[in-house]
């Protein structure tokens, strides 16, 4: 196998004749060769500093690229040395560097106040955007109520399937496991006081009122919220959003509304489904650790958990669904057509959705403090 052309390396010979020192350069002088042998440019700098070289002969240099010319020129102290002999075609390369004026580089300054100001302003603008989005949503709904034929049923049903039906498996699994863990840990404490029967109160209240809706919302925010954001973002990148606008089709009616409607509708259902899975997990664990039979659990549950709790759970689930979809769409439309923005906004969407879900949960907890307690 023959050697590749790029494997010919730059060579440098120092000749001392009659007390005069001359340097001969030959071979291929290119960026790759010089980066592979950093000692060469250092050697040239040393030779220049010694001030003894009378002749630089570059006539045997076969190839000289711009980068190598620049490296030589820098090693010579940003000038051409005296007694330099070179090929005419190489002359031009050095002239280019002599003429170049380097523009000032970026000054990387980090200033605290402008960054904070920008953050606060961004936050405010996003808040305004979400409010606008919500307002637009109400306008769209009132328009669709007057023109029912334009309701995007197909989009809504696709979202129900994608975000609802396909989330059933994971929410059931997580709910079931949390139920087992919660029941097992509580059982250990209750056993100490001999209050085993209260496991039903603890599980029933905490899961139906609090954990079920919250778990379901967090899972859906991570699963469907991120997907919605990324999908809208990709539509921006591939100019599908522009195509819709050009056809006079409203983004809010065809993209935001179906997502919001579908999630608001299915979130309570998923939450009930998660409640059921978690209670089954809890029942299973209670039977094993505390000998409380399924039957006992089943009949006691309605007595110890007032019906109001179920409605509170369903109500806040609907609000969670609405906010998750709204936030996902908001961040989706903020995506600019580049990879960095896509990743950032998807992350932001999930983080914001989960934070908002927990904040709304806290608001519900305060508002309904006295409601539904046994």
């Amino acid at each position: 196998m023959t050697e590749l052309n790029l494997e010919v390396t730059p060579t440098l010979d120092v000749l001392d004749q009659d007390g005069e020192r001359s340097v001969q350069l030959s071979g291929v002088w290119n960026l790759r060769g010089l980066t592979a042998e950093p000692a060469l440019t250092q050697k040239i700098t040393r030779l220049v500093n010694d001030n003894k070289v009378k002749h630089w002969d570059m006539q045997n240099v076969e190839v000289l690229d711009n980068a190598a010319a620049l490296m030589l020129w820098q090693a010579w102290g940003n000038r051409l040395p005296d007694g330099l002999q070179l090929r005419p075609e190489h002359q031009r390369l050095f002239e280019r560097w002599q003429e170049q004026v380097l523009p000032p580089l970026r000054a990387a300054k980090i200033q605290f106040w402008p960054i904070l100001q920008k953050l606060l302003k961004d936050f405010w603008l996003q808040l305004v955007d979400v409010v606008f989005l919500l307002g637009q949503l109400f306008l769209d709904i009132s328009y669709l109520l007057r023109h029912p034929s334009e309701i995007p049923w197909a989009e809504i049903s696709i979202t129900i399937y994608e975000s609802g039906v396909r989330a059933l498996g994971i929410t059931a699994l997580v709910g079931f496991l949390i139920g087992i863990v919660l029941s097992y840990l509580s059982a250990l404490q209750l056993k100490i006081f001999g209050a085993e029967i209260y496991i039903i109160d603890i599980l029933g209240l905490s899961i139906i009122r609090e954990l079920g809706p919250l778990l379901a919302a967090i899972l859906v925010a991570g699963r469907s919220g991120s997907a919605m954001t990324a999908q809208i973002g990709i539509m921006r990148v591939t100019e599908e959003l522009d195509a819709l606008s050009a056809m006079g089709i409203s983004h809010s009616v065809r993209i935001i509304l179906p997502n919001v409607a579908a999630l608001t509708l299915i979130m309570p259902l998923i939450s009930i489904w998660t409640d059921a899975a978690a209670l089954i997990g809890g029942m299973f664990s209670a039977q094993n650790t505390l000998d409380i039979s399924y039957q006992q659990f089943f009949f006691k549950l309605p007595d110890v958990v007032p019906l109001a709790n179920v409605f509170i759970g369903i109500g806040k689930s609907a609000v969670f669904g609405l906010m998750i979809a709204l936030i996902a769409c908001h961040f989706g439309f903020r995506i600019k057509p580049n990879t960095e923005s896509l990743g950032n906004e998807t992350t932001n969407s999930v983080v914001a959705a989960i934070t908002v879900v927990i904040m709304i949960d806290a608001v519900f907890a305060i508002l309904f403090m006295g409601v539904g307690m046994p």
Binding site: M1, T2, N5, R32, N66, N338
Partner: protein, 260 residues
């Protein structure tokens, strides 16, 4: 293998499932030539280019780039070869997280250049070479127009001054003036740096003004290969319809008038 050829393709067959893309393609391109690869849409021009880059492996046959078989190349060797082989993708393929400066400097940093002054001098030189101002260096790819993206991508491709340049439709999406600038730019660079170019193009002006060799793909085969004048005489129906339609006649007529 002989080292005088930049690219040698021997009995290339490419199949995607049952679909045959290339039927027995043989092509030898000497160093220093500018090859224009033409053909109807969907006839496998870009696939052929990807096989030369090494992004895709032909079903049968062997590709030699700069005398080296792409099959036998080890990973390290392949990377070295790649650094002597610049590729300009159709949509530029700039890294959107990096600004223009860092995009152009990327290959330099990858080969191990540490000196930041050297990097910035080279980058600004290449920027000037492709006709962009130093202020453009701090823009992100998302802020650039189509023509500017092509220029920045070309600057990035040229930063290591590769021996082989592979261009996928370099002038598609450019206005005629930018396209003309591109031709001038590439022919000046070619005069200085004497690299080999393989480009996929539909642009008759480029074929006329820039390419020293033309290869025509049709019916999954290489139906003509050689200097433009000899390709024009090829009797294949695709060559006839491509080079002898009214628009093509107009383009080549000007050439005759200009050159007597």
């Amino acid at each position: 293998m002989s080292n005088d050829f930049a690219i040698q393709m021997e009995h290339i067959w490419t199949r995607f499932g049952d679909k045959v893309i290339h039927k027995d393609i043989n092509l030898n391109l000497p160093r220093g030539e500018i090859l224009g690869l033409v053909g109807a849409s969907g006839c496998g021009k870009t696939t052929l280019l990807r096989e030369i880059i090494g992004l895709q492996i032909p079903s049968e046959g062997e590709v030699f780039v700069m005398g080296q078989s792409l099959k036998k190349i080890t990973v390290g060797h392949g990377q070295r070869l790649r650094s002597d082989c610049g590729v300009l993708f159709q949509k530029g393929a700039l890294f959107s997280v990096l600004d223009v400066f860092d995009n152009i400097a990327f290959p330099l940093r990858e080969v191990g250049v540490k000196d930041e002054e050297l990097i910035s001098r080279l980058v600004f030189m290449k920027l000037a070479m492709v006709g962009l101002s130093p202020d453009d260096a701090w823009l992100k790819p998302a802020d650039l127009s189509g023509g500017m993206i092509k220029r920045v991508a070309l600057a990035r491709t040229m930063i290591l001054e590769p021996g082989l340049l592979l261009l996928d439709e370099p002038t598609s999406g450019l206005d005629p003036i930018s396209s003309e600038d591109f031709v001038t730019l590439l022919s000046e660079l070619h005069r200085d740096l004497k690299f080999t170019v393989v480009m996929v193009t539909h642009d008759l002006d480029i074929l006329r003004d820039l390419c020293t060799q033309v290869a025509v793909l049709a019916d999954n085969q290489l139906v003509a290969f050689g200097p433009l004048a000899s390709v024009l005489n090829c009797p294949h129906p695709f060559v006839k319809s491509f080079f002898h339609n009214r628009r093509a006649r107009r383009v080549f007529q000007y050439q005759e008038e200009a050159h007597g």
